[in-house]
Symmetry: C2
Subunit: 356 residues, 2 copies
Amino acid sequence: MKKHNYSAGPCILPQEVFEKSAQAILDFNNSGLSILEISHRSKDFVAVMEEARALVLELLNLEGKGYEVLFLGGGASLEFLMVPFNLMKVDGKAAYLDTGTWASGAIKEAKHFGETVVVASSKPENYNHIPKGFTIPSDADYFHCTSNNTIFGTQMKSFPEVNIPLVCDMSSDIFSRVLDFSKFDLIYAGAQKNMGPAGATLVVVKKEILGKTGRTIPNMLDYQQHIDKESMYNTPPVFPIYASLLTLQWLKNLGGIAAIEKINEAKANLLYTEIDRNPLFKGAAVKEDRSNMNVTFLLNDEAHQEKFDAMWKAAGISGLPGHRSVGGYRASMYNALPIESVQVLVDVMQELENKI
Amino acid sequence: MKKHNYSAGPCILPQEVFEKSAQAILDFNNSGLSILEISHRSKDFVAVMEEARALVLELLNLEGKGYEVLFLGGGASLEFLMVPFNLMKVDGKAAYLDTGTWASGAIKEAKHFGETVVVASSKPENYNHIPKGFTIPSDADYFHCTSNNTIFGTQMKSFPEVNIPLVCDMSSDIFSRVLDFSKFDLIYAGAQKNMGPAGATLVVVKKEILGKTGRTIPNMLDYQQHIDKESMYNTPPVFPIYASLLTLQWLKNLGGIAAIEKINEAKANLLYTEIDRNPLFKGAAVKEDRSNMNVTFLLNDEAHQEKFDAMWKAAGISGLPGHRSVGGYRASMYNALPIESVQVLVDVMQELENKI
């Protein structure tokens, strides 16, 4: 039976990415060698890295605008500390918006480096919305926000205008919607949602913001070092980067971010409409901040849980239980999840209504 | 034609690892899902992580001896700074042995943290040997060495007896030879030689040495945090860890480290014997410190280079050119390289001799 994979990440990727990457493990580019056994300095892999870096700029419409693209190891959580290491001045300060677990993790790391101003937090309401109307200190070294909150199902629909560097953790919604990415000075994202499998981290940084802290940065944590070495300062995570390239190629062939945005909006519209219509369910996040990537929702009556769980499992759906911080359900609908899978879920929700 | 892959890393892995990991990308454990799209918190992947961590202790004969095993992202180069972050006291000092490019990289990072004593260096002789007869300050917080020097083809055949924590970068020879691993307090290794593909880093640490520095450690760089979260503090590099597990299973089925050590010795013996016998070649490293993993050698007369290069390429050999720091050739003979591949190289060397 076909699976409908709602996993929050690592998550569903396009079928052609599975097929092509499996083939590359058996024989990469008809070289007689596996992608797993070739040197990262080999011509074939250098070409992969170059194409992946260029394709990111193309898809984000950032070509020729002073940005550099890095594919690093360590995960987005490592960026939580690389950001202050590279951008927070000695005796400087940084401003953060606290919109969820990952934003809060980034704040925790920043505090190791210096004054960390939390401009607003939705924690008292269990992060069910994006705070608004906050003031960002104009003398902060940068402002950090999280564009989409995987666990709580909220998403920033607009970003503040600031005249300090704007840093954004886009781990769970990059490449999913059209934004003016040139408003951001540093974007980072773990690969394992819309970009590829776990093990690679994307960093897109405007070169001019670097080198201003007066801080000594260990080489491995220094963006400039990685830029100087064209994202090969050390052995990069070869296979995760290759699978990311395949995913980016798939997105480009589909029509890029503008095309996938339409599909993502249709999927979100389909599911949120059902949540609002169906008397058995309610959404967990406030409507205006609802995420198009991670849809969090609850049963109004938990007595129906056992029945509902059995029904969606029987329909081939996996990965639907909500994070323990919210409970209920979370339908993660990343780029590669087809709208047909959303229809299957909606059908199950309607079937539950009919049965009760 | 069959390829003989002498790549210095990422490098050859067992054929069954390629086959099984490609299959898991198409369908993991008959789940109908790819290993690339499942949650790292899913039962199936948690089982992978647990088995991999346990198998490392079993293969290194470290079970029940107070060690913890972590599979991290970021590469061994990230350990260059995690080691001093976790082990060098505030106002403390560390002792390092400088045996090559990577040892020197580790020293560079340690200097960001405090006094870094280089007890000896073979740099003046282009790292063609392992320094001996050095003194390690007994008041250092730890002693750091590199067991095998990939670029220069040298290998430590014994390790100093110290009463401070002994830290070793075993990236390029872990799991290749029998050692009393309980003499080490912290071992780390990039996966991409004897353990798996690029993208995962192994850390084996004796718990009792942690928590003694008085230093504030960012969470992502704190071994204790990773231990507390059973190596899932953040999303781990799922696929590289799975392929590493397959490689470790292969090694166990082969008879473990004792069995592969015999094969590695036979391979090294075969090639070094030919280098010493064949008047056209000479070894690059001093004999007593020769590495069984990376055999560096040179033509006595560079005029034969073009002919030799054409011949080994025609024989299906790849990855043989030496690192620019040494020149000549480097035959990396990691665990998965069969002795038949070494015989092919020796045959080519003899053929060259016959032709000249």
